[in-house]
Amino acid sequence: MIVSMAVVGPANSPLFIHTISPEEDPLNFHYIIHCALDVLDERLNTKSKTPGGNDPNLGLIYPTEDYRVYGYVTNTKVKFFIIVDEIETKMSDIREIFRRFHLAYVDAVSNPFHLQGHALASKSFEARVRSLAAIRL
């Protein structure tokens, strides 16, 4: 089950963090995503040396004891994170969710009233992310 989905900007500033479970402290997820950012940055810097390593999907980047974090980087250095709490999750499902997440993000950013680099404040984007997070993996 997806417990959190987040978007981080190119300057590593959080643009959008959505957490599902009410009993868990949302700050915990902020912290996990912050740590995952470091791993992702490291992965980006080393991957540039290998050819064929330019897939936007970075896969599982940060397994903690309760959660697993999947990462995805776009061409514009915007990073998406999905935090799951199950052991067995199919990569194809994750890929599909990332793709739809990316499309929802592009639609939200195309809003002419959205300020680039600021947090995403679109209600329709929030609704789309919530429906994506509700998908059973």
Partner: protein
């Protein structure tokens, strides 16, 4: 997910002509108009760059970014690719030649190239902003300027000078 939605191109052309005219009427000096048109183009360029790179693999260097601008990006915007790309030895300056710039094709221009270039300059600021914004969203900071190179065929040249990769 909604499919690609389309708008008649003539609507855009009329809106664009009026946009440039309104900016020149509203601002007191030429510099203010240039910067507001440039800023508009910059924002649009960033948003378009996000949209047009959705399924694409990540770029490995700034040359690939420029090639993307010349091919896919130009194709989406103007229904054709850039006709000629020139660069200097250091790969810091790029010149994109478009032999029939689409946004100018319905304009009747004087035969004299200098006079035509003078009238058309204001309509090239917004596209320069778009290129600058798109490149900036990929992490390539640059200065972009454009000029009309042929008043009969509406050929334009866009000069990109990369300031930081």
């Amino acid at each position: 997910m909604a499919g690609k939605r389309e708008v008649a191109e003539s609507c855009f052309e009329f809106l664009y002509l009026e946009l440039v005219r309104t900016c020149y009427v509203k601002e007191e000096d030429d510099r203010g108009t240039r910067s507001s048109l440039d800023a508009m183009g910059f924002q649009v360029g960033q948003q378009l760059a996000e949209r047009y790179t959705i399924d694409r693999a990540r770029f490995s260097d700034h040359l690939e970014v420029i090639k993307f601008i010349c091919k896919e990006f130009w194709n989406e915007l103007f229904n054709k690719q850039v006709d000629n790309l020139k660069t200097n030895r250091n790969r810091e300056i790029f010149v994109l030649h478009d032999n029939r710039f689409r946004w100018l094709r319905h304009m009747s221009l004087p035969k004299d190239l200098a006079a035509a270039a003078e009238t058309v300059n204001r309509y090239l600021i917004f596209p320069c902003g778009i290129i600058k914004g798109a490149l900036a969203s990929f992490g390539v900071l640059c200065e972009v300027s454009a000029e009309l190179t042929d008043s009969a065929t509406h050929a334009c040249a866009f000069h990109i000078r990369i300031t930081q990769k």
